[in-house]
Symmetry: C2
Subunit: 236 residues, 2 copies
């Protein structure tokens, strides 16, 4: 079973995982071992301990180098959005790791195989195993391809509530009036519509955003306004 | 000033720090920059963001490899004792980093230079700078010498309350009677005394400990008993 995963990693990501037992360890849940006393392997928890730290450092190093002008608050904010349960669970699913987990019977029946909290642990354990098998550089290259590239696709925006962040920031020194004004609605080719919105504070326009729903357009406007204000420095 | 630190790092630790500006950044506090508008450098906060993650991973990798038989609970416990304010502040003092900090005037007057919370930040920023200047391997070798070696000296025991941990663990499944019995008191060469204590649970001896005070001897007995119980596995 794990040799199948080994092959898939090689063909999809050019990762030639050497130690298949290590791969198995990353995908074995504790109760599976309790239920199979003859099973020789270990469960994933030690590798999860390791992989958690590897994910933290890899992400911090990447963000530090990529955003030389960001302060530690902005770096921390994006890191929090990236290094968290839903983000890691999505990566586990992308690699189909969920299909390979050796799971206890009770967990299987209760639907744990598709639970984000398990898939988060599994992702960390997998990265711990990859670090041991292939070293830091391979982990970093792999994360750049599969994870850090998602920054540019706006993937992590879904984990950041930019409207709340903007409001919080603008109201630090007292109440202000924030308004989202719908400017236009343009039909798109595939029967979708494009909404354009601008966000205003005390009648001054901060930014424009567009999207396939008003909600998406408002979020984009808030994100642009927030990031613009952050880039200008922290004086309010 | 920072070239002096550069020389001291070379002579004491054989670390040849290349970028003295990076070293300065790791030791510059934000208010110093506010008070010196002509100062060209940055404050330490971005490097602290980086170094925090480097400390987490370096410590996790070291513990994972050094203790192949420990479970993730034991690994986490020791990591928490190692990666924390007092531990990092002690390392900053050991390198005399406190003497080099460019500090705001208000902070200086309020005694921040000797405050553990500042010295923790400075340690993380210094490690962030060392990582950028010298790479992961040099950081790891340096930490092995200056920090991880302290595990064997029992340095981190001061941050772990073994008597509470033992009690908590023994009483997981109900009340038990835990007793510390003083066995002997032996005079030592330098007018000190050596106390020997054993810890018993429900009249069964768990472990012996010795030390220069009853308190130290009890702590050692609790540590031995706790680690022995942990090594036997988590069945209570």
């Amino acid at each position: 079973m794990f040799t199948e995963l080994q092959k898939s990693l090689a063909s999809r990501y050019q990762i030639h995982f050497n130690d298949v037992e290590l791969l198995a360890e990353a995908l074995t849940q504790a109760n599976y071992i309790n239920e199979h006393p003859d099973y020789q392997g270990h469960d994933y928890q030690r590798l999860e301990f390791l992989g958690d730290a590897v994910m933290q450092q890899s992400t911090a190093v990447y963000l530090f180098k990529r955003y030389p002008d960001w302060d530690e608050g902005q770096l921390t904010e994006l890191r929090i959005a990236m290094v968290q349960t839903r983000s890691f669970a999505a990566l586990s699913r992308e690699l189909h790791l969920d299909q390979y987990i050796l799971l206890g019977r009770g967990e299987e029946l209760s639907g744990a195989r598709q639970r984000d909290s398990l898939l988060e642990d599994i992702w960390e354990a997998f990265i711990g195993a990859l670090y041991l098998d292939q070293g830091q550089t391979v982990v970093m290259d792999f994360l750049e391809k599969i994870m850090f590239a998602k920054i540019d696709e706006g993937f992590y925006d879904q984990f950041v509530d930019y409207k709340s962040k903007l409001q919080e920031w603008l109201q630090k020194s007292g109440a202000v009036t924030i308004q989202y004004v719908r400017l236009a609605e343009e039909p798109l080719a595939n029967n979708d519509q494009l909404f354009v919105v601008e966000v205003m504070v005390n009648d001054q326009v901060l930014a424009k955003g567009s999207g396939k729903s008003t909600k998406a357009a408002e979020k984009e406007a808030a994100k642009k306004a927030y990031q613009h204000l952050m880039a200008k420095g922290h004086d309010n």
